[in-house]
């Protein structure tokens, strides 16, 4: 698997999750779908904003877990 395919796999999160919503209740499905839309758009924007730009290693940082401290 190439690294670009890794990226595609990551973005599949929105597609697959949205498909899974078909068996849920409409109100809850929409709320989650809205969240997924934001996630996907953030991911796409991250790619777009840096396409062709010089590598800046400082842009990649560890992420603190939910409810936890920075790792």
């Amino acid at each position: 698997m190439t690294t670009l395919e890794y990226i595609l796999s990551i973005l599949q999160i929105g597609l697959t999750a949205a498909q899974g919503l078909t068996s849920g209740n409409l109100k809850g499905a929409l709320a989650t779908a809205q969240a997924l839309e934001q996630i996907v758009q953030a991911a796409v924007a991250a790619y777009q904003q840096h396409t062709g730009q010089p590598i800046d290693a400082s842009l990649l940082q560890p992420i603190a877990p939910v409810g936890g401290t920075a790792s």
């Binding site: 698997m1 498909q19 078909t22 989650t32 996907v40 777009q48 877990p65």
Partner: protein, 261 residues
Amino acid sequence: MLRRHTDSGWFAGLGLGISLILLMAAGWAQGSLTTITDTVYRADGTPAAGTLLITWPSFTTASSGAIAAGSSSITIGAGGAVSFPLSPNAGSSPASYYTVVYNLIHALAANFANLRQVATTPKLVGPKLAGPGFEVLVAGLMVGLLGGGVGCKSAAYRVHPGAVDGFDSQSYDALLVAQATLQQAKSETASGGLPAEAVAPLNTAIQSYDVAEAAWQAYHATAANAAAKNTLQQALAAMTAAIGGLQSVLSQPTSPKGGKP
């Protein structure tokens, strides 16, 4: 981080766009197939080219017709024209939706659905797929993907200046996207937008990202050291698997929200 889309071509330049629309038939009399006919446009307003992948779960129609789960690939015709038949699913058991994935060449469809608009406006506001009896677009999602996958053969990957090699550059992209994905997921979880069940797999994915991020920093710093490359490859694979775990949870039927940390 978040860029809102506009009709002037927010996604212009992307090699491949996929927009995903969940459709629900409403107010449709049961019985024969209905034909969905419309035109798909690119973000710049020109007719789109590509394919639509339509999938649906198994369901029983309101008139007791059994529909097996399936899929169908539709090629967008000249001028962006699409036309295809679907079985009505209004009143189906269980409630069902058609999922339409747009695989568009070079750009994304214009006017894709804004979920918040759709949630309050029971009209088709996204990429139009209209037909007799189909009037409600329940939800829409759009994913802009990269060249190099299916769809756009002319898109060329641009290696970042300063990268030690192509792998370094692409790994950097993967991690930038993963970082944005996970940070946004954290935000959505904190605001209750994602179910509480997402917290554990999200934290697992974050942990995997952190490992991959450190591995990339090492690889980048050591200028393509073979051992570091192997470590990074394994870390990226683990990260992808972890995000897959999160994806599995989000694919489950909805449950009460409450993901605040």
